[in-house]
Amino acid sequence: MVTPRQQVAVAARLVALATLLVVVLLEPSVRQDTASRGPVAAVVAIGLLSAYLARTSGPRAARSALATETVVVSVATGLAPEPAALMPYLVVLPLLAGLQAALPGVAAALGTEVVGACLVPLLLAEQSWPRDGSRWLDLAPWLGTALGIGLLGAWLRRRGVPGLAEDNDAYYESARQLLTQLRSVTRRLSAGLDSQGMAAAVLEAMHQRLGDSGGALFISLQSPGLVPFAHRGPDAQQLLVLSDPLVERCRAEARAIQGIVLEGPTRARHRVVLPLRVGTRVLGVAVSCLPQAPAAETVTSLLHELDEHSLRLDAALVFDEVRTLATADERQRLAREIHDGIAQEVASLGYVLDDLAASADPTLARGLHELRGELSRVVGDLRLSIFDLRSDVSAANGLGAALSDYVRQVGARSDLTVHLTLDEAPSRLAPAVEAELLRIAQEAITNARRHASARHLWVDCWTDPPRASLVVRDDGSGIHGRGEDSYGIAIMRERADRIDATIDIVSDPATGRPGGTVVEVTVADRRSRAPEEVSAR
């Protein structure tokens, strides 16, 4: 791959060589001066060679090529009796040095030029140096320009114009700048970066402008096609159809599309489909359902309003993705750390206990044996924690697949019998929602296994994007005695909050069955209620 910096290195040299040739061809005094031919030929040769090296070799080779080139060009300029053709080349070298090695590079290049073009000829070939000092006057403006251009190169490098800085670091540099901006921006944002809330704001804005009876919002994620993301109003159900031709057209053409949709034999409703645009990209589409066609200017002004919302929504979605990626990495790291560290150490302590028990008297041995049992249980728990940390949803593995995988493993590693019921729609939920639901299910299952000493567990998962529900029920001893604020429950609530879901945790439910705990999570249900309730939120 040719990086932008390599492109600059090649282009700058070619421009300088082209200027050189033009001057040689047009200026008879230069063309006819035989003593200048040697230096000009040397500069053309080293220029072409350096351009070739800059394109084909790594940063280190490019750096030494530039140093050699600077020496050759400077000395050639100094020795040539008619150096006018070579002077433009002096400007290019500090620019490249500045891009490569910042201010020290510029200083070195300029120093070399001054020594090569002024001092060397003074010492070596005094006869070619005009006595009247006109050479100084010729050189000074070029060297001044070279200094300016060199500083510009160094500044560009410091600004981190993508690709111009050190090749391998360019992408890191721009990533660092973006992340720094993100950090300061998120501190300043009043609404934070909550994608669910932003989507609700888009639907609310449409409701305010159009007075619609229902709306739905689709997002294009990496997976091909759209994902239902949010909806509001009692009529939203019929809008959540991915195969709607109006939706597809809106996405393809990136403009507002309107149409009439028949509802039964007597009713017809107007449907407005608006693109959510970020620049030239279509982030998703918003669908609205209303009794009659809206005024054209209302749609136009709404479209502009949505552009602002889209940018925020896009930022929130990117943030979600970054957070999901960062969390996934951290979980893998934690799993490795537990596996290689504490789990092995506790396991080896177990062997120490075995050794003690073997040589102890019977009463002590009995106590040690009990302790050994506890220790084995701790290792077993650590093993399951490692597994918890490692299981995840991915592009290929949806919520249902991840859940059934997890549940099967839990069944294999503990005495719990898990009954899983899946009812998944063909389309996927948003990745952040899938991830949080999986974590809530893991937490609920772990609680049932660890604290409630349950024997059976029923997990029901239903999805119909953007809506979903997850119910985890066990036949254990319930969670009484453990406060509502106990760790696992607080974490489950926090996770549910993050995806704007409601969570109900009921111990001893009034189903007539003794004991047991029910954890029920519902995603995006409230927005399908009447619009009054939504605006009252």
Binding site: D340, L375, R383, A412, T417, D423
Partner: protein
């Protein structure tokens, strides 16, 4: 008196190796021949020391212990191999069995179990034993995968009675496309390719027992 069984311990954690070494030295019929912390060291130790039994951790810094198991198995038929692991799930158990291990022990088991497994491995290196083997086999024979929802069970029983897609849709009051989604999910859950296959698999796993009785 017969000569002791010589054991090579392969684990990258010193404390684990020391604990196991003490456990083996407690029993008179064992002697620890050597230690190794990586796959490469394990292979070197195996070649140089020619131990009777090798105890191998699954996760090693330069590869998986299972590679070492396969390598040892390909070289010597009567060397006992005990696989020791922190990940003691069904998949790991069957993977160890397929690699050619003689025994599989979780790291939360007492050291006596490791010694017992090594003794078994010495006597019958080409057999396989594990504490959770019976349960794992049972789970493998009766997969407790996702169950059908009530609506899917209803659709399945209508399918078994020979209803067409639209007839099923009419009798449970849903559209043809919804019915098709239900059917696709039933096929997916049963791992079936078509209607006949789905019904066969459903009968075999007892999902249609009620319908057949009627």
């Amino acid at each position: 008196m017969t000569s002791p069984i010589r054991v090579l311990l392969v684990d990258d954690h010193d404390l684990i190796r020391q604990g196991l070494a003490r456990a083996f030295e407690r029993s008179d019929d064992f002697a620890v021949a050597g230690h190794a912390a990586t796959v490469a060291e394990g292979l070197k130790g195996f070649t140089e020391l020619a131990p009777d039994v090798v105890v191998i951790d699954v996760r090693l810094p330069d590869g998986t212990g299972l590679e070492l198991v396969r390598e040892i198995r390909s070289r010597g038929h009567d060397t006992g191999v005990v696989v020791l692991t922190m990940y003691a799930g069904d998949e790991q158990l069957f993977a160890a069995m397929e690699a050619g291990a003689s025994a599989f022990v979780a790291k939360d088991a007492p050291s006596d179990e490791v010694v017992a497994a090594a003794r078994h491995a010495r006597v019958a290196p080409r057999s396989f034993t594990a504490a959770a083997l019976a349960d794992a086999m049972r789970r493998r024979m009766t997969p407790s995968g996702p169950q059908l929802t009530p609506r899917e069970s209803e659709v399945l029983s209508l399918l078994a009675r020979g209803f067409s897609v639209s007839a099923i849709g009419r009798s449970i009051y849903v559209s043809d496309s919804t019915t098709k989604t239900h059917i696709a999910k039933i096929y997916e859950k049963l791992g079936a390719a078509n209607r006949a296959d789905a019904i066969m698999k459903a009968v075999r796993s007892g999902l249609l027992a009620d319908d057949l009785a009627n």
